[in-house]
């Protein structure tokens, strides 16, 4: 019997054993799956734009192990607290996001109207030596810009328009989380403890309804410098 024949039989045997197992599972009376609101939101976001959902969940941050619970709530909204406490209309107009914490995950859940125009083009103005922009991807609600150097280093700039149906999720594992500000805008810095993984930094520009994040193999000071140099390259026509 050739290797290919053996593999073909193995393929068939494994499929049939799974079929038998699946039939058995259908008969088992175990606990029922009652989806939480968070799961439903995730599924809605996934069906709306699978690529964007995957990209959001697949940042290096997702992949890190174990948990660190030092999460500080971003307080941007509080700056508007006085107005919002008295005016429901103002509250609806101002709040475009809430941050929710579930176990080792942080979700930034957006609200508000969809962006009807193209997103402005942002870029990192002060790149480390050797880095150049290599890829730029944009949809009406989201953009990704990649910078790379010759040695394989990469910096990712991601920004999303905050609107209903979209969200950003972070799974915290062995990350230390620090609150930071970028030009006075509040944000979080996620510092991995795993060698070789990227650190990340995210902040929200409420005046533009945009959440930004930058990740790369840099320390907090360097990432902050990159974040602070993010500026408009081109406005939509």
């Amino acid at each position: 019997m050739t290797e290919q024949e053996l593999d073909r039989i193995m393929h068939r045997v494994l499929l049939d054993s799974m079929k038998a197992e699946a039939e058995q599972a259908g008969e088992d009376q175990g606990p029922s799956f009652e989806p939480t609101a968070r799961h439903k939101r995730q599924m809605r976001a996934m069906l709306e734009d699978p690529r964007r959902w995957l990209r959001r969940r697949e940042r290096p941050l997702w992949k890190r192990a174990a948990q660190r619970a030092a999460v500080i709530l971003l307080m941007c909204i509080l700056a508007f607290g006085g107005v919002m406490a008295f005016s429901p209309a103002a509250r609806a107009g101002v709040i475009r996001w809430v941050m929710e914490r579930y176990g080792n995950r942080i979700d930034f859940v957006y609200s508000g109207e969809q962006n009807r125009e193209a997103l402005p083009e942002y870029g990192i103005a002060e790149l480390p030596e050797g880095y150049v922009e290599t890829q730029r991807y944009a949809s009406p609600g989201s953009a990704l810009v990649v910078y790379e150097d010759q040695s394989g280093g990469a910096i990712n700039l991601v920004y999303d328009y905050m609107s209903e149906g979209a969200m950003a999720s972070y799974t915290l594992n062995e990350d230390d989380v620090f609150d930071i500000t970028v030009h006075g805008m509040n944000g979080l810095f996620f510092q991995t403890r795993i060698s070789g993984n990227n650190n990340s930094l995210t902040w929200i520009d409420e005046s533009q309804n945009i959440q930004f994040s930058v990740d790369g193999n840099f320390d907090m000071e360097q990432l902050l410098a990159l974040a602070e140099s993010v500026s408009l390259c081109k406005t939509p026509k």
Binding site: M1, L6, D7, I9, M10, H11, V13, L14, L15, D16, S17, M18, K19, A20, E21, A22, A25, G26, D28, G30, P31, S32, F33, E34, P35, T36, R38, H39, Q42, M43, M46, L47, P50, R51, W53, L54, R55, R57, E58, A65, Y102, G103, Q135, Y137, L144, V146
Partner: protein, 174 residues
């Protein structure tokens, strides 16, 4: 990975196909996840992680015969469940095929062979499913199961050898 993002699930047709896969399979995936993990939060994580794998491997979907797709997807969600159990140290991967040597000696036909493989230690099943059904590399399997690439290779070889020995037996009916 980045170039992948730029090419898959771009068309409306792809998105419709993805939505249809979700509609057809999410209930089954959820049931398997909750049965294996017994915890709603973990089951949701497993289902979401499984859909991440479906999106990543979306280009393969069209190459998978439609009758095999449900099992391909079940295999993915099961593997995600095992990943979660392993991280929580709720499962210990047993590397012992000795019990099967005895059973393997008495496999008269294909149904018994399927039954034998249904009861393989999880560590072998997972390696074989990832390698043979999902097409993962040894490196990917090693990362997902937290074992060395050598261990992956050894388990795959032993699984194949087990099958080969059974098939070589006189009188076996395929």
């Amino acid at each position: 990975m980045l170039s992948f993002f730029l090419t898959v699930l771009e068309s409306a047709a792809d998105r419709r196909l993805f939505a249809s896969i979700y509609e057809q399979h999410h209930s089954k995936m959820e049931r398997i996840a909750i049965n294996m993990l017994k915890n709603q939060g973990d089951a949701e994580d497993a289902v979401q992680n499984a859909f991440m794998q479906v999106i990543r491997n979306f280009e393969k979907i069209n190459q998978i015969p439609s009758e095999e797709l449900p099992f391909w997807i079940i295999s993915i969600v099961k593997n995600e469940c095992y990943m979660i159990l392993r991280k929580q140290k709720r499962v210990v991967l047993v590397d012992d095929l000795s019990l099967f040597a005895e059973r393997a000696a008495d496999v008269p036909d294909y149904a018994a062979l399927v039954d034998l493989f249904s009861n393989l230690p999880d560590t072998y099943r997972q390696v074989l499913e990832m390698k043979v059904l999902l097409g993962y590399t040894d490196k990917e399997i090693s990362a997902r199961l937290g074992i060395t690439e050598t261990a992956v290779s050894t388990r795959a070889s032993r699984g194949r050898q087990l099958l080969q020995d059974i098939l070589d037996k006189e009188g076996f009916q395929l």
